[in-house]
Symmetry: C2
Subunit: 284 residues, 2 copies
Amino acid sequence: MECIKTINEVRSIVRKAKKEGKRIGLVPTMGYLHEGHLSLMRMAREKSDFVAVSIFVNPIQFGPNEDYESYPRNMKRDLRLCEDVGIDVVFAPEVPEMYPEELLTHVVVEKITDNLCGTFRPGHFTGVATVVSKLFNIIQPDIAVFGQKDYQQLVVIKRMVRDLNIPVEVIGAPTVREEDGLARSSRNSYLSYEERKVAPVLYQSLLKAKGMLDKGERNPDNIKKVMEVMISSKPYTSIQYISIANPCTLEDLEVIKDKALVALAVYVGKTRLIDNILWGYEDA
Amino acid sequence: MECIKTINEVRSIVRKAKKEGKRIGLVPTMGYLHEGHLSLMRMAREKSDFVAVSIFVNPIQFGPNEDYESYPRNMKRDLRLCEDVGIDVVFAPEVPEMYPEELLTHVVVEKITDNLCGTFRPGHFTGVATVVSKLFNIIQPDIAVFGQKDYQQLVVIKRMVRDLNIPVEVIGAPTVREEDGLARSSRNSYLSYEERKVAPVLYQSLLKAKGMLDKGERNPDNIKKVMEVMISSKPYTSIQYISIANPCTLEDLEVIKDKALVALAVYVGKTRLIDNILWGYEDA
């Protein structure tokens, strides 16, 4: 497995694989890989013949008061994990390789970026859509795999690809959880021992919501209130949002019909965690 | 030569040509082809093995009070001209093929879209950058040729391609003029006989500017004043802007040094015409 730092080199390696008739898969990541990333890689491995993983902590998707500087990094461990999964090439550019001059061009996705995380992270999804466009243009994959834990991100990327006719199949992969239900996230490493103990309440509240929906509750406010009480009963927690939304438009539902996305962002200590479940789908 | 209306079909035709090892050229147009377009096509013909021409009057680059509805169209004649130049495929989608649903994604280029035409056509270059992104993603050309008559458009597309790592070589081609100097434009067809007679004053004023620059004038205001007087002395004319700008950043120059873009937009009757020259380049 090669670890490549430059756009030209990774392009030439992928071009060679394409010429051999191989189907190219891409898993874009910010590194500090965990079991969630590995599941995306294994899915890409299954669905393509040549898998590229990008590792790039993308500065333009972080707000000025967010954790760009402190975002956890461990390239050596990441490369070992990629090797173990059978990745063909890791693309790990430095910031100046991706942003060599002032970036004047952005890919802006409207409406579906207004709610959920978009409300609290202005510019975040523009940064994500822009860097993913760049990675798609650099690697030119046939498929790309993203985690459903960042559900809004997945919806934004899928819409961008459709709107701009990008020739990539975007695949969402299920959230991988710890034994106690906590969604895997590189940011879990920020949690203190005490914080880590309470963090599973996010998923527990999502399961509670699912239970209420299964039993016939159709008023989002009733569900959100129960979730709020559950989460707020735990120390260190501070809810940023709880949303019960249309899974396509991400707009808050006033009444729940057949399908719903239940999503939340909660600070546990100083660490912002997100999680979500889909309800009303056969496999969800 | 085939004329294709759907994205899927044109993709499969281009894919076939790529598999045969052919280098793909694209000339994006809004149709109503004239000698200017034909020169772009001939250039693409020279620099690639398989040339696609797109003909699409792109609604999202027109403002609400602009001429989208009345923009001249003549598909039959356009196809004959493409055939004559030896184009391999014409991609001429209808609007719903390009915009099947609400478009939530836009490619936004900042700063270099603030001056010149951008000042007077808010959203225009976002519409251009977005549709060109789509065309690039649909055709996936190796090269694309644009006219220098729309100099700002050329700069915007080149910057977008660089910023987003789009794997296309963008080539600018010289403005083609009528015998009396008027830049070829589909919109020239709007001009009445009397308006057509005065329209060459745009290029004459640019030549005057060049003469002053050649003689050592370095104050943009002095040059602009002379141009204004020349143009305003003609009936039917109304100047929208005259700019003497940095050819890279498109910012107005306070003092001219070694290189300059002299660009203008002038209404002749109800028809908005643009033209420009570069000064200080060996081949300009």
